[in-house]
């Protein structure tokens, strides 16, 4: 399908150039991987007057860990994340999430920042970044603005970004020296599919936990109520049963073409139990390898 509407194309080499171009147009779009944007151009969901390709900006391609904070640049693809040594040693859950995104051909192009800028409800990066308490770094004319991920998602496909701004990176603090996590994603089949529901769990030292749900509402849900029930306790069958009971008070998924709300809710409980057990056993040095499917 061709793209009907014409636009200007730019490929600047610095973020300040991007901002200059953005300010010249009424409705500009930023292009990184394009796996969402090009589809939206074809369906005319987006009709920009200019497309600004940021793949020419070298500073946006980096993955770096400094003073306990991981920075992922806006042009870093999911394949880059899967191949990164820092990610695999210090943030293996990020690689586990990245491996569930689309297929190799999509991951070679699609970026994590693009994923959270599109901000569709089923974005795989959303529960991950919420659980890691990440920060979105936005460049504006006057300088940088940092937005906690909790305040980033405003609704389905809506974020806290303003006109004449661009996201240049996400910053993810290392939650502890030694910790483990688990991402469980339910699609119709393994391989490439969108999430019908997803759960991300981090098991931190001293029996502290973080839990986030994805694709069960317009924005990702950090389950703080669940965390306070779990925090300070060893995971036991009794505790898991209690936790599963309160999940329906935390999330309220909808019925749509891909799954019913009852199925999503039930599976969130199943995925929470399996994910929690896997995260805890990984933190003890055993448990399933990262990337191993639990459903």
């Amino acid at each position: 399908m061709p793209i009907i509407q014409g636009f200007e194309y730019y490929k600047p080499t610095s973020a300040s150039e991007v901002l200059k171009i953005l300010s010249k147009y009424k409705n500009p779009a930023i292009l990184a991987g394009g796996t969402d944007l090009i589809n939206n151009l074809k369906t005319e969901t987006d009709q920009p007057d200019a497309v600004v390709d940021i793949k020419g900006i070298k500073t946006l391609r980096g993955i770096a860990l400094k003073n306990g904070v991981l920075t992922i640049g806006a042009a870093v693809t999911f394949s880059d994340l899967i191949d990164s040594k820092i990610i695999n040693t210090k943030f293996p859950v990020i690689a586990e999430v990245a491996r569930t995104v689309g297929s190799v051909g999509v991951r070679n192009r699609a970026t994590m920042i693009g994923n959270i800028c599109s901000a569709v409800a089923c974005a795989d990066s959303s529960p991950l970044l919420i659980a890691y308490e990440a920060t979105v770094v936005v460049q504006e004319k006057k300088g940088k603005r940092k937005i906690p991920v909790e305040k980033w998602f405003k609704g389905n496909k809506r974020t806290a970004i303003k006109k004449n701004e661009m996201v240049i990176a996400v910053e993810i603090p290392l939650p502890a020296k030694k910790y483990a996590g688990c991402f469980v994603k339910m699609g119709r089949y393994s391989g490439e599919d969108l999430a019908q529901a997803s759960v991300l769990i981090l098991a931190l030292p001293e029996n502290r936990y973080r839990v986030a749900f994805g694709a069960v509402g317009p924005v990702p849900v950090r389950a703080k109520k669940l965390e306070s029930l779990l925090n300070g306790h060893e995971v036991s069958d009794d505790l898991i049963a209690k936790s599963k009971k309160i999940i329906p008070t935390i999330i309220s998924p909808i019925t749509d073409i891909r799954a019913s709300k009852e199925y999503r809710l039930h599976m969130c409980q199943v995925m929470f139990e399996r994910g929690l057990k896997a995260a805890v056993s990984r933190s003890k040095g055993n448990g399933p390898a990262y990337g191993h499917s639990l459903i």
Binding site: P2, Q5, G6, E8, G34, I38, V104, G105, R109, E192
Partner: protein, 168 residues
């Protein structure tokens, strides 16, 4: 506004004028006559439009042609060397891994990328690598066989030689 761009297509320099909104897949097929990438789903799900940019498979239906200005693009037409099929292509023939052939260019490129990165993949890794390439004819097993067969026989050079002799 039309822009002039140059890129390497299967080892040859190509210079072409494109509108910014032209899709790479359409430029390859309709303007440059390279017909191996196919338009299947046209939204990045089926993998039949796969081509390589700088050695990595991508969905050419989701790339603007202008994005590959200055890059290296390879389609399956560029895979043969000295007019000979690669061992992987040969294996696809021997294992009877195509029927209609619509998905084959994409699957062979995906498998080529996998084998370049990991010459001895497990069956699970093979499945993962081609998960984004849909085939509606074969049921996938012959395709997986073609790839894993190759990784098994390439263990020893002797086996390779034997294989050549058997070939009609």
């Amino acid at each position: 506004m039309k822009r002039t761009m140059t890129f390497t297509l299967n080892g040859r320099r190509v210079r072409i004028d494109v509108e910014p909104q032209e899709i790479l897949l359409e430029v390859l097929r309709d303007r440059l006559g390279v017909k191996s990438p196919k338009c299947g789903c046209d939204k990045g799900d089926c993998g039949s439009c796969s081509v390589m940019i700088n050695g990595k498979t991508i969905r050419s239906c989701l790339v603007l042609a202008i994005e590959v200005d200055g890059q290296r693009v390879m389609t399956i037409e560029g895979l043969m060397q000295n007019n000979e099929l690669t061992p992987l292509q040969q294996s696809f023939i021997e294992q009877n891994s195509f029927q209609c052939g619509f998905c084959a260019p994409g699957i062979i490129l995906s498998a080529t990328e996998l084998l370049e990165r990991n010459p001895r993949p497990s069956e699970e890794q093979v499945k993962e690598a081609i998960a984004g390439n849909l085939c509606r004819c074969t049921g996938y097993q012959p395709i997986i066989d073609a790839i894993t067969h190759l990784t098994r026989v390439s263990v020893s050079h002797q086996d390779n030689e034997k294989r050549k002799e058997v070939r009609p």
